[in-house]
Symmetry: C2
Subunit: 215 residues, 2 copies
């Protein structure tokens, strides 16, 4: 029961998540059957997901497809399309995250080639996307140094499920108050299993390590 | 009906919002009766809300009280407490926004003095907090230049309800690709009524204008 109004919202949330998980399993089977490696990219708004994808598509040397999630606008899909990469935009309207059913619908349009790498750029939000399995193989969280080293502690749910955390915008480290060691310690406290890889999607720092991780 | 599972989730969401609005009205009456000016501060994670509050508390020269919203940790409340300002921390756990009932509960503990300025620092999230009226007088959205100029278009709901948008971290403008005029144009497209005030909470740029606006 919901504490606010005594309704059955918790039960319904559980039902929505259960149905989402069933669809995620169908997506997962499709990815395995077609040798598609799917990455769910999650972060705050403006942490550099799209910039990282533009560069990754150009440099990784293997087929990539992208699904873009945003509340509104086709802006991110247009940026990806200019790289020549197949892309589908999902606009969630008032919605705050992608769900497995939305991804399934996008796959019908996108039809990623067997053997390709599929990036799902989730809606910019460090909270809600963490609840919804999309059927992806890996979850990558991007944190930018301008956001502060305390974020893994303050938003532990999304960091706890990450397979890798990219620490982006390290080119801005000289100009902000950010201690990478403190951030690493906070991440280890909520997720001892995920590595923290410092990168700069604009300047190129350590992107070879990112491509190695993907390959 | 919900598109995912055919449940009555939309109806229940409407019921939750209606009950939230009733509680928000009770909060609003309390604020008016006690001459408390309440500001709901919303932004992405790490855009500088707490840093701005620390400085505002020290410099504005009038009684301030603060309610801090975060998924986890008392870190922000501890920072505010060190300024000597009364503060209450709300931890939402899996929750992605503050609701009017949470604020009402916090007010029981905080008991802001009549005549004071009450800041409610919402959970760092550009989406969900925009749905929930807390009974505040004004809504202020903080956008930092590191997040990109396209954010008002991509997250229009929160920008559309803003009374003021603070463009923070302008001290980082020399190091990032951000066009303030483009941002101003995008904000005007979704909210012609809200002013965009460029500030730096760390360096102090234009904070006098922010205090003037509050007073």
């Amino acid at each position: 029961m919901c504490g606010t109004c005594g309704c059955h919202v918790i039960k319904i949330e559980q039902k929505i998540l259960a149905i989402n998980d069933e669809t995620a399993d169908i997506n997962r089977t499709h990815f395995v059957d077609n040798d598609i490696l799917t990455i769910n990219l999650m972060s705050s708004p403006g942490s550099g997901k799209t910039t990282l994808l533009e560069r990754t598509i150009r440099e990784i040397g293997r087929p990539v497809a992208v699904v873009e999630g945003d509340q509104e606008t086709p802006l991110d899909a247009e940026r990806i399309r200019r790289t020549g990469c197949p892309v589908v935009q999902i606009n969630t309207g008032a919605g705050c995250h992608l769900e497995a059913g939305m991804l399934a619908g996008a796959l019908d349009d996108l039809k990623p080639a067997p053997g390709s790498l599929l990036f799902v750029e989730n809606v910019g939000n460090l909270i809600c996307p963490s609840l919804f399995d999309l059927g992806e193989k890996y979850r990558v969280v991007i944190l930018s140094v301008t956001e502060g080293a305390d974020k893994p502690l303050k938003y532990p749910h999304v960091f706890a499920i990450a397979d890798l955390v990219l620490l982006n915008k390290v080119d801005l480290l000289p100009y902000v108050d950010f201690d990478p060691l403190e951030c690493r310690r906070h991440l280890a406290a909520v997720n001892p299993r995920a590595d923290l890889l410092p990168i700069s999607a604009t300047r190129g720092d350590n992107l070879a390590d990112w491509y190695d991780w993907l390959n």
